[in-house]
């Protein structure tokens, strides 16, 4: 960690006026209601998720887990460069479909969120929304250096460093970016983990929801989202 430019000034005391969009304001909704909105507040995810209870019988739970493991449905949301190596997996050469892995267009149908590399703050916000829209049990896999410790954007003002502070990560795959074969190997490992009943990321998220939210809010200033749900 040598070679830092000593000429760089560290003075960030200068106050900059808050942008207009971030100030609280009144808005008229399409049905004529006037409502106050506070952009810095997260309206969408106030309600904490619930811990998914295990089945009483181990054999039933094992069966469930086998089912979950053998149908890893990945959300087709490439958050960073790593997404490009998923394309070969979707096509005949590497053919992940034979392992029960396929890509879905909507979070409602997917149970695996791939964070394929760096997450800019703007995308992190969407990734969190997406994750919360997915149905449990759900899993997160972090791809490449960027999700582990910031990767090559370790000094960027706009990318996060430790993914596990914002989303519960079940598995990391090293590489920049990991090859399709490494991804497949990672999926196999995730399957093993699910079958053993160890992939408890979603439950962790529910249990430590406040902690995750606090971390998320420390980074994301503007929670005002485009209204996808209209």
């Amino acid at each position: 960690m040598k070679h830092m430019d000593p000429n760089f000034r560290k003075d960030t005391k200068t106050e900059f006026p808050q942008r207009e969009e971030l100030k609280p304001r009144k808005v008229t909704t399409p049905d004529g209601q006037v409502i106050d909105i506070e952009p810095l507040q997260d309206y969408f995810c106030q309600e904490p998720p619930k811990v998914h209870q295990k089945s009483y019988f181990k054999i039933v739970e094992d069966f469930y887990n086998w089912c979950r493991a053998e149908s890893l449905w990945i959300l087709a949301f490439g958050t960073g460069c790593g997404a490009i190596e998923m394309r070969p997996l979707m096509t005949p050469r590497f053919d992940a479909y034979r392992y029960g892995i396929q890509w879905r267009a909507t979070p409602r149908q997917a149970n695996l969120l791939m964070i394929s590399g760096y997450l800019s703050v703007k995308t992190l916000k969407r990734a969190i929304r997406t994750y919360e829209q997915m149905q449990g049990p759900k899993y997160v896999v972090g791809l490449g250096s960027c999700t582990i410790n910031g990767g090559m954007y370790w000094d960027s003002y706009n990318t996060i460093k430790k993914l596990e502070e914002y989303l519960p990560v079940d598995l990391y795959i090293a590489g920049c970016m990991p090859r399709p074969e490494a991804l497949l190997a990672g999926f196999m490992e995730l399957k093993k983990k699910i079958k053993a009943g160890n992939a408890e990321g979603a439950n962790k998220y529910a249990e430590k929801f406040d902690w995750y939210k606090a971390n998320q809010k420390a980074v994301i200033k503007d929670w005002d989202m485009p209204d996808y749900n209209w």
Binding site: P30, F77, I84, T91, S120, Y153, D155
Partner: protein, 392 residues
């Protein structure tokens, strides 16, 4: 639910009939967001569409989902340290960044690159262009629901990636073009293996011609859609295949030959219709040019030689004050690096001029109104944009 528009007075863009103001409260219009996850193959960006029925009356592009602040990061990395990060700006065709950055540094530092390295660079750029087009055409077919072409071309791209891997040591981010030269020689038997790839590609492309370009549905959906008036090319900074599809044979390889392009024999394909069909067709024909170029390059490739010029010790490499702009023709249009140095060991400012910057912002917003929702994805892919070039 609510909607917020910062300033209504900035409307109206005229509606489909030229009169209506867009007033969301009438219930006649609907906001529809496309993205930010990949719509087709164009990377993470979103288009905020206002639709009336299935007709889009307004579109705004939103970018920044992939912003990492490259230009800032490079200001605090030494000249050699910038080399591994520049390629990350563009995933489908990373080599162009490597070349432009290296050439800009060499230009300001006054380094003459050996002949062998120039040939190698040209080879790599053409291989990258080939790959990029494969993604573009695969994406184009995917955007119109023609999945099989995407499957084929991803395979073709993948066997080209194998050649990349063998040559450079990596599949996606090759990091082979160092400031000063390239990192190595051609491996044994590379030419033969490359010829196999090209033959396979040609076989698949012949099928693509039949399945995609002669497809009645494809033709119906692309011909006449997304027309760009050639008069808009200059004001909107349209370059590359998008301009060539409108009859302007803009190509930096011909206009201002760099590397060894002046020693190669090729024609720049053009079309006149300037619609989605024409743009895709230009890319399709450019693949043939690329294949031909790769063959020519390998045929004329120097037997051996130095791969790198003498460069100073990179750990304390300082470049005198100056500024330069280096450009080249990427698969999407004119790609350029504007590099300013101040005599220190770090770049003062790097500005990456990606073709997507102009294509995906102002131009796309201009083209979207009046199209069908289902054509928006095709329109975006036909411009062949890649968001990280916009936001970097």
């Amino acid at each position: 639910m609510f909607s917020f528009q910062p300033d209504r007075s900035q409307y109206p863009a005229p509606g489909p009939d030229g009169k209506l103001e867009i007033d969301l409260e009438t219930g006649q219009y609907l906001k529809l967001w496309q993205g930010p996850n990949h719509p087709g193959m164009t990377g993470n960006m979103s288009v905020e569409l206002t639709v009336c029925g299935d007709e889009v009356v307004e579109g705004k592009t939103h970018v920044g989902y992939l912003h990492r602040g490259f230009e800032k990061l490079m200001e605090r990395r030494s000249f050699i340290q910038c080399f591994p990060i520049v390629c990350r700006i563009c995933v489908p065709e990373p080599d162009f960044n490597e070349y432009c950055y290296a050439a800009a540094v060499e230009n300001l530092a006054g380094i003459e690159v050996p002949e062998y390295a120039n040939w190698m660079r040209t080879l790599i750029l053409e291989m990258g262009r080939f790959n990029s087009y494969m993604m573009a055409i695969g994406g184009m077919s995917g955007a119109l629901g023609l999945g099989v072409v995407g499957q084929w071309l991803t395979y073709v791209r993948d066997i080209m990636l194998d050649r990349f891997e063998e040559l450079t040591g990596a599949r996606i981010y090759h990091m082979f073009i160092l400031p000063g030269g390239v990192r190595g020689h051609l491996p044994e038997g590379f030419k033969d293996r490359m010829e196999e790839v090209l033959k396979t590609a040609e076989r698949y492309l012949a099928d693509v011609d039949k399945v995609m370009f002669s497809n009645a549905v494809y033709k119906r959906r692309t011909k006449g859609v997304g027309y760009i008036d050639p008069k808009l090319f200059e004001p909107y900074g349209v370059t590359g295949p998008n301009a060539r599809a409108g009859g302007v044979a803009k190509d930096v390889r011909k206009d201002a030959p760099y590397l060894v392009y002046d020693q190669l024999d090729f024609e720049v394909p053009t079309e006149t219709a300037s619609d989605i069909w024409a743009r895709t067709n230009v890319r399709r024909r450019d693949i043939d040019v690329s294949i031909d170029l790769i063959r020519q390059i390998l045929k004329k490739f120097p037997k051996g030689g130095e791969v790198m010029a003498e460069i100073p010790n990179v750990l304390h490499w300082k470049i005198p004050r100056g500024e330069t702009y280096i450009k080249g023709e990427s698969s999407r249009g004119e790609y350029g690096y504007y590099l300013v140095t101040d005599g220190s060991g770090y770049p003062r400012r790097v500005n990456v001029r990606g073709p997507s910057y102009t294509h995906a912002m102002a131009l796309l917003e201009l083209l979207i109104p009046g199209t069908n929702i289902s054509d928006v994805a095709a329109l975006m892919v036909s411009l062949h944009t890649y968001p990280p070039e916009i936001e970097r």
